[in-house]
């Protein structure tokens, strides 16, 4: 057997954490993702499965922060579902079993990098990064936007000072650079 060591999106053996007085940027290595797109004519059946899985269907611009599976709306009849990687590493296969022919399921864990930004200055930092109305957003609000020329999802999490950013994994270091620059600029 091969003895392979996984690395994080930023290339480390453990997720990177950058702590400032006013903000903490944490690379979150523990999320498994898969996208779900309802097939034509099967939208209602797809929503039914989603409701059973998450407790509710994520509406436009909203997430359902359910445990263990959570999900947010990406567009009409399209959702991103996530769950802890330790228990759901094969989330796409697990979801495909549930959705069957009602939806197309694509594994997304390898496509996205996840950063958690927490701290008193979260809103100030977010305003420097992207054009989302962070001060109006409440827990569970999701926006797709552009950060540093990269298409990202910005999710307001349950804690008042916590925002989660999903960005393209292949540009993880670029996105991290943008986050670090913004954090330094509000110090």
């Amino acid at each position: 057997m091969h003895d392979l060591q996984t690395i994080t999106a930023l290339g480390g053996a453990t997720p990177r954490v950058d702590v400032f007085n006013h903000i903490t940027i944490t690379e979150n290595d523990g999320v498994a993702l898969a996208s779900v797109a309802a097939r034509l004519g099967r939208e209602a059946a797809c929503r039914k499965v989603l409701k059973k899985l998450l407790g509710a269907v994520p509406e436009t611009g909203r997430a359902v922060l359910h445990d263990p599976e959570a999900g947010f709306c990406m567009g009409p009849d399209q959702w991103m579902l996530g769950a802890p990687r330790v228990s759901h590493e094969l989330i796409a296969d697990q979801l495909k079993t549930l959705f069957g022919d009602n939806a197309s399921v694509t594994e997304q864990s390898g496509a996205w990098v996840c950063f958690d930004i927490t701290g008193a200055a979260m809103r100030d930092m977010c305003e420097r990064l992207c054009a989302v109305p962070i001060r109006q957003m409440v827990a569970g609000d999701v926006r797709r936007t552009v950060i540093h020329q990269l298409g990202c999802f910005v999710i307001r999490r349950t804690a008042d000072d916590h925002v989660r950013i999903f960005g393209p994994r292949a540009s993880a270091a670029t996105l991290h650079h943008a986050l670090m620059t913004a954090a330094a600029s509000i110090a």
Binding site: T60, G61, M74, P76, R144, G151
Partner: protein, 95 residues
Amino acid sequence: MIIDHPLLGPRDSSEFTYLGDAKLIERPDPDAETATRDFYEYAYLRDNPAGWHEELWFHEAGDRSWLVVTRNTLTHEISKVEMARDVARGKGRSK
């Protein structure tokens, strides 16, 4: 210029990219007798009206949806914004 996205509300036009005439939705029938001529016109011939124009916009920095935006090319006034998929299905496409 602000585009009032049917799902997401008013968004700045810098979030969108422009494709052009919404007639691109009406792809000709490749099996028709006149298919060669039809596709020539579909690919190359466009009206360029000074006034109201239906055009396709892509919400690249948003939810990546395609929109049909009715815009006045003289004043940039926008009178109607629809999801392109609803327009296409209304024309009997995607069945």
